[in-house]
Amino acid sequence: MITNVVGKRIQRIGIQQKVTGKTKFAADLDIPGALTLRVYRSPVAHGIVRKIDTKKAEAIEGVVRIFTAKDIPGKNLYGIINRDQTVLADSKVRFIGDPIALIAAENEKSAEQALKALEIEIEELPAVFDPLEALKPDAPRIHEKGNLLFTRKIKRGDVEKGFSASDIILEETYETNMLEHAYIEPESGIAYREKEGRITILVTTQNPHADQAQLAAILGIGPENVRVIQTETGGGFGGKLDMSVQPFLALAAYYLDRPVRMTYSREESFQATAKRHPLKIRMKTGATREGKLMAVNAEIIADTGAYGSYGIAVATRAAVHATGPYEVPNVAIESKAVYTNNNWSGAMRGFGVPQIAVAHESQMDKLADSLGLDPISIRMANAFKVGSVTPTGQTLRASVGIRETLKKIRPYYEKFSREIQETQHPLPQGVKLGVGVASMWYGIGNTGHPNPSSAQVEIDETGKITLLTGAADIGQGSDTVLLQIAAEVLGVGTEEILLVRADTGLTTDAGATSASRQTYISGRAVYEAATKAKEALLKKAAEIFNAPSSLIVCDGGYFYPQYREYQKIPFGEVAKRAVQADGVIRGEGTFNPETSSLDPETGQGIPYTTYAFATQVSLVRVDSVTGQVSVIRAASAHDVGKAVNPSNVEGQIFSGVAMGIGMGLFEQFFPNKTKSFDTYLIPTALDVPEVTPIIVEDPEPTGPFGAKGVGEPALIPTAPAILNAIHQATGRWVNRLPADLETIRGLVPPEEK
């Protein structure tokens, strides 16, 4: 298909404001007279709040009001999947940082004094920080229903038979690290009550419509009485899917006749918000001598910390993706999400898949190593193709680009390997080089749940086009991509469309900006909306030209009958006439990819309509003396269906590699120890190599112009590729993230250094 706007490197919407510093993030908004909010947080990991005395704090000058659980008018329980989290503790606190009281004050200083003056007594309870301990019958009980949040099982074929038919069986355990999203913009928002009583919240978020619903429940009012407007959002990576400052802002605005504002410090952002689930994985893989996978059996334990958040989704995704993008006839997976008194874990770029990929990709390389196969060949021998059946029993019907990504990566694998052999200057003692490959698959959208999106395209009598979408652009670029899709359909440029986005007062629900779903799902909704709007115009143009509408061309901002371009009429003119005749044109688009819920016992079903695929190779330098590992080069090939905006896709690939380097080599969040960016290290420009992005386009028939998604896939193969490269360099496997100084130093015995 020839496209004019889709597939082009269109400038990102709003980028001019961003480079000039004009863009207003929530903390930049000027709200005269706004009160400051601060939260008193639990200093203990597990306990019962026995007493809250606010008198002294309230007496402090400038303190306007102090809220506790009893002030919550609606339900003091929220959570995106399972509701188990309190806005302010009603009796129990479950991690260090659990909110207990909320202070509204005239200024920062008074709020801080009030924090110190609050008299709060907590009876400390025994706490548990290890998910395996938490599962024991005598473990401290963190939630009423027990510490097991959820179990996901997937069963297909007969694993025992599969293992007996295998020539080689490998069983290993893996552990992944607790991570912080570390978006550079800390959580922030403002709220006020409008004259008519509606509570309006402007906030950094990935999830405006879900926020609205949850806030309405907390306040005990109808959702129409809450308006959530997404402010420009400085990154999210899943960490802004759960609410942060929203409930506090809403509660204060509900009671007080003053605007309120709240911005987390970096320290509070680290302490109070979700983390990436650390996983413990036992994986047993069987294969034939030729490297054909016969069976995979895995047990996964995810530490969801104090609250569920997205724990169920993470446990499910880890299970669904546990085999990697390979045909495996016999599969038995059990994946659990378990409560502990650690910081709560939630969604983070990839929902469990970056973690499980460490296991399945290490297993692939271990098999290849034992069988004397090269890492690309063994993957190719097993990779999905059209017609393959996944562990959940789904037959892949189209857009299965994994093999193409492997093909595209092979030359880089060979090139990097050659570079090692041809390295001229001798390396310092103990320094070794290695090349590593890893692949991944990633289902787009929510797992086995409906996840609809909607959008509207409106055209008024002046020809002005407006695209309305509830999708929150958090920096990844969905605004631009959605405009490109609408513009392509309507035959105009993106600059001719006005965008209204992510405001529950003006736009309809597009679902969360998560699961790499906005391009595919909201993109398709936009496509539908624009198509409907265009049809109305085509009808009018057909009348004007007195020709069937199927023969009318809409392109370059004009309408004309096929082969009679000289008769062209401007888009605006047709719009004007159409609107005069029939009123404002409004194309309504929705899309909900086909999924079916997974069987609770066997996990069989259709978790997603479509999947993204990728393969990455990296060249790594391992200093076995110091334990330092650096990634020197990387190439990453991604099947995105169709790159609506190649610059954006490449940007996601670079971004994913960088984040994966942090995950693989040094990021680790220690509950109650990690406070800020001085101890939580994310990659700097010097820690990231030059990356070659490779775009593979195996179109997805249900996607807009064939597009799928790339946001999370970009990250997933990075850490496993690094681990596999470390093995090639040192002959040793690392089964535990991060592969930090101590791990690597201990890996290689002195005589090999």
């Binding site: 980028i15 001019q16 510093g21 993030f25 903390a27 930049d28 978006y183 913009e185 490449e650 960088a658």
Partner: protein
């Protein structure tokens, strides 16, 4: 006399901000960042950490990149400060801003003002940096979104263009 030597809680600061003289009285226990953001409403400089680790608050002080969160406000007395607002506007983008736009070197944009100012300081000092030197020059600016590559591309292009103009 003796007490006077111990100074005051309120100080007077005069500085040039983006070419404009500014005089203000303020408690001494504040940062340059809070003066810029709260008193002067120049919100291009961001607070990402407040402890000198992220670079989101980077501004130029007497031509050098500094973390505005690490500068006690009275230290800026007499200084020349350049914030992103003083670099260029949409009608007349600074070449670095233009290159960032062209290369898509921006995602969420939260790190961008600080990143561009670090890049400017780098190029002012070293007009012809290698890619590695560019990476060093922006190593105090964390970006979680872009993976830095398009940022390096953008800065490299400006450097190359400058070189071209000079030769």
């Amino acid at each position: 006399m003796e007490e006077a030597e111990l100074g005051n809680e309120i100080v007077e600061i005069s500085m040039q901000v983006n070419g404009v003289s500014v005089v203000l009285r303020t408690p001494a226990n504040r940062t340059l960042l809070s003066i810029l953001r709260e008193d002067l409403r120049l919100t291009g400089a961001k607070e990402g950490c407040g402890i000198g680790e992220c670079g989101a608050c980077t501004v130029l002080m007497n031509g050098k990149a500094v973390n505005a969160c690490m500068v006690l406000a009275p230290k800026a007395d007499g200084a020349r400060i350049t914030t992103i607002e003083g670099l260029g506007d949409e009608a007349r983008l600074h070449p670095l801003q233009e290159a960032f736009v062209k290369h898509g070197a921006v995602q969420c944009g939260f790190c961008t003002p600080g990143m561009i100012l670090s890049a400017k300081a780098l190029l002012d000092e070293n007009p012809n940096p290698t890619r590695l030197e560019i990476r060093e020059g922006i190593s105090g600016n964390l970006c979680r979104c872009t993976g830095y590559q398009q940022i390096v591309d953008a800065i490299e292009e400006v450097a190359a263009r400058k070189q071209g103009e000079e030769s």
